[in-house]
């Protein structure tokens, strides 16, 4: 079947107002300044350049979204999503995917010097925050955090009528800025080892490795607590929090990968594949990565215990390959680079081992579910379409069945876009044992039809 919109009118949204054109120009100028510094490999007056560039980009985004969303009454803003080139895999979408993929490839696989100009721009910020020269990872972290903040503000304007979306977005912005950016920088300023309090094993496979334990165990007087914290988060907090709230406590409220997906990735959420085939591939892939990382950590510990006696250099080679394939190529290059082609959660859905573990808990032992409202579903497909994880929410909603899916990150957008008020994210312990059964169906006649 032809995979296009029915539209023959090519409703190219030329509705952009004068103010929005100005806003685009302002933001574009900010981006251009960074590009010039990058291309020339040399930043003239870095501090001024940085402030001007970030200032212009912020102002541009802010002006644009105010004009876009405040001009209209609050509500769902999906008009033209499938008509716009950027959000419907048109020229702009492909271009964005190529640029993003290219940027990540350079970042991960090319020498430091390739980002020299950009590094110079961020140098004053790095010295100010942590009294260290900038490197490419600092540049990346800064741009990443900036994206979550700027586009988080956009998301808040877009969903200003929805308090769940509002709080969730403030939360990811807060955790990214504080826990994944300022605190690690502050640790370095205090001569402590860099540590991210929002990433745990197995997503951050290094934190579970013997070398990390050795390093943090002895680096400074307090760094040993980082490892204790990390282990507690993985083995205690993860099951407990997931039991009460579902995996969303992490994936759509705290995690930085999720943070970027929910803010910068929001315009692409509908591009995730909803087919049964995609679901099959997803289950194979994500659990394979989980097995791979468990194996990785196991091998590293075995090797460390045997002092290299049994496995020789195998575990190290395995670790390097995992790092390249999963840590860099999959989670980085594909994970973000493919936003405009496969939706914002490619990594979270097909790769993230943390999501896999959280998913198993969510499916087997959690109060969380999305309930559906009796017989009110009209099978329109908004919920499924706007599910970034590719869950066919409608399949459950039209049967009046609770949605309990390992992959659901609890973003709540399905419930927001539902035009009939059919979906609600909630939790209860009452029927926690049998809730995944397919026959837990509240039927259309509600009382007197036997479930078939």
């Amino acid at each position: 079947m032809k995979d296009t919109s029915l539209s023959v009118a090519t409703p190219n949204p030329s509705l952009t107002s004068g103010k929005q054109k100005l806003a685009l120009a302002v933001a574009g100028l900010g981006v251009l300044l960074l590009l010039i510094a990058w291309a020339s490999g040399h930043a003239f007056s870095p501090l001024l350049l940085l402030l001007t560039s970030l200032g212009l980009m912020s102002a541009g985004v802010w002006l644009f979204v105010r004009e876009e969303y405040l001009r209209r009454p609050e509500g769902i803003k999906n008009n033209g999503v499938w008509f716009k080139s950027l959000s419907a895999r048109g020229v702009w979408g492909w271009l964005a995917a190529i640029v993003l993929t290219g940027f990540y490839t350079v970042l991960y696989f090319f020498p430091e010097g390739w980002l020299g100009g950009l590094t110079q721009v961020f140098d004053p910020l790095s010295r100010g925050l942590r009294k260290m020269p900038a490197d490419k990872w600092f540049v990346y972290g800064s741009l990443y955090t900036f994206s979550i903040l700027a586009l988080g503000v956009k998301f808040i304007y877009k969903y200003r009528h929805n308090r769940y979306q509002l709080l969730r977005t403030v939360s990811v912005m807060f955790f990214q800025l504080g826990f994944a950016y300022l605190i690690p920088a502050f640790l370095q300023l205090m001569q402590q080892p860099e540590y991210y309090f929002t990433y745990f094993w197995p997503l951050k496979d290094y934190y579970g490795s013997p070398s990390a334990v050795r390093y943090y165990g002895s680096a400074t007087s307090i760094s040993v607590y980082f490892i204790v914290f990390s282990a507690l988060m993985t083995f205690v907090a993860t099951p407990v929090l997931t039991y009460f709230f579902g995996k969303r406590w992490y994936c759509s409220w705290v995690c930085g990968c999720g943070g970027l997906a929910e803010t910068a990735g929001d315009p692409f959420r509908h591009l995730s594949d909803k087919s049964l085939r995609a679901w099959r591939i997803e289950r194979w892939m994500i659990h394979s990565v989980l097995v791979a990382v468990v194996l990785l950590t196991g091998l590293l510990w075995l090797n460390s215990w045997q002092k290299g006696g049994v496995l020789g250099s195998f575990s190290q080679t395995y670790s390097t390959v995992y790092g390249y394939l999963i840590g860099m190529a999959f989670s980085g290059v594909v994970g973000v680079g493919f936003y405009p082609l496969m939706g914002s959660r490619v990594w979270c859905r097909f790769g993230c081992p943390m999501a896999a573990i959280l998913g198993i808990f969510q499916k087997k032992k959690s109060k969380f579910r999305i309930t559906t409202n009796g017989g009110q579903c009209i099978s329109c497909g908004n919920c499924s379409t706007y599910c970034e994880m590719g869950i066919d929410v409608r399949h459950y909603a039209q049967r009046g069945q609770d949605v309990v899916r390992a992959s659901c990150v609890g973003c709540g957008i399905c419930a927001a876009v539902c035009p009939r008020g059919v979906l609600r994210l909630e939790g209860a312990s009452a029927d926690v044992g049998q809730r995944t059964q397919a026959t837990r169906t509240v039927h259309i006649k509600l009382e007197d039809v036997k479930i078939l």
Partner: protein, 447 residues
């Protein structure tokens, strides 16, 4: 046995699915409209760019092969009930052992001059949407006639593409033959906030052609005004699409007459959905209810009776419910809420100060049993409301536990306590809200 289902809308497809669940009979679904079942109510979202056509299809193409539901694209123009044969416009014949007529509706036209001009359309079929698309390039203003559910959808569709909409509504407020006055006024207000040119108490008199004489160019209203437009949406209701079945031995009035088992007067022929007219509707219900939900329930009932292995199933639609969305305002109704409050009923109506949310509870004056819920911009739980209505719960019992019904997203403000206070003020009682929103209590209540 070969079962042929005419029509692949919600009634026909629900029947096909349930027949397959219960039996191994041969199933053929015949449709002229589309290859695959899609959600008719979602057509607007395709035009607005929220969804692609394929996103409105609840089942992937493999579903039909896997479940051995044959699909046949054909337009049936004649049914030979004696020979049990369908005749298509292309000369094909399709035989059946049992037949389900689920042929849906067509948009009403009331004989206005110019109603058959180009650019004059209703919105029901996929082909109507295609017509809207065809007329959209260069379209500056559209006139939508008829203040009901489809009219407001059409207004929102054009509005989403930056096309001016003049919305002619015969009643003093939007859909005020169904909505109580406060809710009706709320929607009118909201439409105007979206810059819809809402013309209340205005009727269509005539549609004027352009210079070619073929295409619409303007409408004339009963107030004598002429409104130029390149498209006229006629959304003044629908009626059963049974023209090709008239003057056969099949008994029809406005729709195909069926008994409580959805059987027509002809053996082995059933009807379900928009096109079916119940000979004896249950009390308080209409003989024809052209809504998605009743189509689904009828499809399921018909499936039982077509397979016919268990005892016959009554069509029992239960307590009335419906829902819609008027631009940004969601609407849900459970039970009996009439535009004009019957004398024996009292109403408790709360409206948010921002004017875009309301909760209404209607109850019987003498018995004080709750009879209906009407919600605007607030979501209530179907199962909870349904149980209260079925069990004729007392208004004070309901009010004190009203939180059970709240289905709004987490962190949304809960307004149930305000309703209790309002009730106390109106009646001099001193009730307290005992139950706030939450699934745990709901599951206990529904047990």
């Amino acid at each position: 046995m070969k079962i042929v289902i005419l029509g692949n809308g919600i009634a026909g497809i629900t029947a096909a699915r349930h027949i397959r669940k219960m039996s191994d009979h041969e199933i053929v679904v015949v449709s002229d409209e589309s290859d695959y079942f899609f959600s008719r109510t979602a057509l607007m979202y395709i035009y607005m760019g929220h969804l692609r056509f394929k996103d409105t299809q609840p089942y992937e193409p493999w579903f039909w092969e896997k479940n051995r539901i044959q699909r046949l694209r054909a337009r049936v123009e004649r049914v030979d009930f004696q020979e049990k044969k369908l005749h298509s416009t292309t000369g094909e014949t399709i035989t059946y052992d049992k037949l389900l007529l689920a042929v849906g509706s067509k948009s009403n036209k009331f004989g206005w001059p110019g109603q058959d001009l180009e650019g004059v359309h209703g919105l029901y079929h996929l082909q109507d949407l295609e017509a809207m698309e065809r007329h959209t390039p260069g379209l500056e203003r559209a006139v939508v006639v008829g203040g009901g559910l489809i009219g407001v959808e059409m207004a929102e569709m054009f509005h989403s593409r930056g096309i001016e909409v003049a919305f002619l509504v015969r009643e003093p407020d939007f859909w005020s033959i169904v909505l109580p006055p406060e809710e009706s006024r709320m929607v009118s207000r909201h439409l105007r906030a979206h810059h819809i040119d809402l013309r209340l108490q205005t009727e269509l008199k005539e549609i004027m052609p352009d210079t070619s004489g073929k295409k619409c160019a303007a409408v004339v209203t009963n107030t004598g005004e002429t409104i130029g437009c390149g498209f006229v949406g006629l959304t003044v209701g629908v009626s059963p699409n049974i023209g090709f079945l008239k003057n056969t031995e099949l008994e029809t009035q406005r729709g195909i007459l069926v008994n409580e088992f959805l059987e027509t007067n002809i053996p082995d022929v059933f009807a379900a959905g928009d096109c079916a007219e119940l000979r004896q509707p249950s009390p308080g219900r209409r003989a024809i209810e052209a809504v998605w939900y009743t189509g689904r329930m009828m499809g399921e009932t018909a499936a039982h009776n077509i397979v016919g292995e268990s005892r016959p199933q009554f069509y029992n639609p239960g307590i009335w419910f419906n829902s819609a969305k008027f631009f940004d305002i969601e609407y849900q109704v459970y039970g009996d809420v009439q535009a004009k409050l019957p004398d024996e009923q009292a109403t408790l109506y709360w409206e948010h100060p921002d004017g875009y949310k309301s909760i209404r509870l209607n109850y019987d004056k003498s018995s004080r049993r709750v009879v209906g819920f009407n919600l605007m911009g607030v979501r209530y739980r179907h199962e909870v409301c349904d149980k209260w209505l079925r069990t004729h719960a007392h208004i004070e019992e309901v009010l004190q536990h009203l939180g059970l019904a709240n289905f709004d997203p987490e962190f949304y403000p809960q307004h149930e306590a305000e309703l209790v206070r309002l009730y106390n003020r109106q009646t001099g009682r001193d009730l307290q809200l005992k139950q706030r929103r939450g699934l745990e209590a709901v599951l206990a209540f529904l047990k």
